[in-house]
């Protein structure tokens, strides 16, 4: 549904988007993560036909981006929810949707039906004739979602849909995004909310002018320790190099009745059995729990458990510890930027 090939945008000497290559399938929800200035909004603007590209190519719903011949068709197939609501304070919710519906050439009957359906779903139907000026931020955000859907687009671009919303407002929007996901629309979601991306997106891409990594949230987390992209999709242009050398954050926590030196030594030896393995942090002990860094839990854990049992350890619980998407994100950005916490930049 969306194919991006080496898409680049420069503003003077500044490269906002650098050789972005990505494919988003029909019905897929793809999250684009990255810090401010990473080029996420520029990417969406290019794909929505709002601004031109400097180099590369992209196709959205069969329309070539930047081709004047299909520019109008491209915009009619896309729904855009920009970062700023951009609503007219003196129009009512219903008038707002009617206005945009007309511009998308939606018939009067469809406009009326969609206006009622969308405003009802987004809990704004009772306020349909009230001026937007009086709406809360959450209500405005919901109205912008309705606006993006008035033309029933197969492709949706959502730029920070929950930015600046309180937790309740953010939840309403997130729930609606899950609903949209069920409708099998192709969605490109720009977000800073990693939990949101994890919950809503089929795949995520981490971007900082160029795509650093791409994959499912699970795959990215798993891959963050061994320098591969989450789904091995290097053809998408994400090399995954950013993760190389980063210490694995995966570990197995084993709770025992009693932790003895023999058990700790056995655990340490068990995970050092593979001399080719990446050097890891040592086994740590906290109370009755020992935490053992592992490369591949599926293959490392059986040997680890056997060794602990053989050393006389009485196992109560075994828990896998995987890095959060946030940790993965920060690690990938950090390794691209050099040392340091990217969030602190």
């Amino acid at each position: 549904m969306i194919t991006i090939d080496s898409l680049t945008r420069r503003f003077g000497d500044v490269t906002a988007v650098d050789s972005l290559t990505l494919t988003i399938g029909e019905g897929e929800v793809f999250g684009l993560l990255g810090p401010n200035g990473a080029g996420k909004t520029t990417t969406i603007r290019m794909l929505a036909g709002l601004i031109g590209k400097t180099a590369g190519d992209a196709w959205v719903a069969g329309c070539r981006v930047g081709d004047p011949a299909t520019a109008r068709q491209l915009r009619s197939l896309v729904g855009l929810m920009p970062e700023e609501a951009g609503l007219y304070p003196d129009l009512s919710a219903a008038r707002t949707l009617d206005f945009y519906g007309r511009l998308y050439q939606v018939s009067a009957a469809d406009r009326a039906e969609r206006t009622e359906r969308l405003l009802t779903m987004l809990d704004l139907w009772d306020r349909r004739d009230v001026r937007v000026r009086t709406f809360s931020k959450g209500m405005k955000q919901r109205l912008t979602i309705a606006r993006a859907l008035i033309n029933d687009p197969p492709v949706l671009f959502l730029d920070e849909p929950t930015a600046n919303l309180d937790p309740e407002g953010a939840k309403v929007v997130r729930d609606f995004l899950l609903r949209l996901r069920q409708e099998k629309r192709t969605i490109l979601l720009n977000t800073h909310q990693l939990a949101e991306a994890e919950r809503v997106c089929d795949r995520v891409g981490i971007m900082q002018t160029r795509l650093i990594a791409v994959g499912t949230p699970d795959a990215l987390r798993s891959a963050s320790g061994d320098g591969a992209t989450g789904d091995g999709a290097t053809g998408d242009g994400a090399t995954g190099d950013g993760a190389a050398g980063a210490a694995s954050a995966r570990a197995t926590a084993v709770q025992l009745a009693v932790v003895t030196d023999a058990v700790v030594a056995a655990a340490r030896n068990a995970v050092r059995a593979d001399p080719a393995a990446t050097p890891r942090a040592d086994v740590t002990v906290a109370g009755n729990t020992i935490t053992v860094p592992v490369d591949k839990p599926e293959s490392d854990n059986p040997g680890l458990i056997r060794a602990i049992v053989a050393a006389g350890g009485e196992i109560q619980f075994v828990t896998g510890i995987v890095p959060t998407l946030e940790e993965t994100y920060l690690k990938l950005l950090s390794s691209v930027n050099g040392a340091g916490d990217p969030a602190a930049r």
Partner: protein, 240 residues
């Protein structure tokens, strides 16, 4: 050009515009008030019959100042207001072309003040005819000069004001600043009016035709400039 899009955008802008009381007053009360004021002056000032045509022309032409100022103010609000509300991006994301958006906004800025002006001018002409008929012995209005002023010079001046405002709007980000700059569009009308009342030129068919010609050239240049300024790329990357 999709005229339905132009009409939709114009209607939306006019709805927003007419929801403001101050603007409604400016559109309705001011032209009609001016028409009544000028007619009353003509009726009570005992102006000699040989000076009446020039006085009537100058009063009619006074409306031209207003014709320049009001569309400029509305166009400034229309453009910079969208900029302030950040509503241009979703508008530009629709299938409407840059030209349709610009034209829709232009029509919305042009039409209400122009209709108000026409109403004011026609009221002035009717009242003035009523109070000067006995002194002149004939109905002064309508005449070709007045028709050309009302239906040609006034729209051209209003169009110039809109084009000028679009160009100003690209450079400012506050409605008030845009309106103040847009008010400069009243200067040509004021200059012509002052020239008229000081006797620098006489408002006859030839002079009004020349004025219309100059305005048409200016309008074309401003329209091309506005069209070049008002494009998606420019708005989203530079109008900040």
């Amino acid at each position: 050009m999709n005229w339905q899009n132009v009409a939709t955008i114009a209607r939306k802008d006019m709805t927003i515009m007419l929801s403001r009381r101050a603007l409604r007053i400016a559109l309705v009360a001011l032209p009609l008030g001016l028409a009544v004021l000028f007619s009353t002056i003509i009726a009570r000032a005992s102006i000699p019959a040989d000076l009446l045509p020039r006085t009537l022309n100058s009063f009619l032409f006074f409306f031209m100042i207003y014709t320049g100022a009001l569309p400029a103010s509305i166009a400034s609000y229309s453009m910079v207001g969208e900029k302030v509300e950040r509503s241009l991006e979703p508008l530009l994301a629709t299938p409407a072309s840059d030209g349709e958006i610009l034209l829709g906004k232009g029509v919305a800025a042009l039409l209400p003040p122009l209709v108000a002006m026409w109403a004011g001018m026609v009221t002035l002409m009717v009242y003035c005819d009523a109070v000067t008929h006995s002194a002149l012995g004939y109905l002064y209005f309508p005449n070709w000069t007045a028709v050309l002023t009302v239906f040609c010079a006034a729209p051209l001046l209003a169009l110039m004001a809109v084009g000028f405002s679009v160009l100003c709007s690209a450079r400012v980000s506050e409605v008030r600043t845009a309106q103040q700059l847009g008010a400069l569009a009243a200067i040509p009308g004021a200059a012509i009016y002052i020239s008229l009342i000081t006797g620098a030129f006489t408002l006859d068919l030839a002079s009004i035709a020349v004025i219309c010609g100059i305005l048409a050239v200016l309008d074309t240049a401003l329209a091309l400039g506005a069209r070049a300024t008002f494009n998606r790329e420019e708005i989203l990357t530079r109008w900040a």
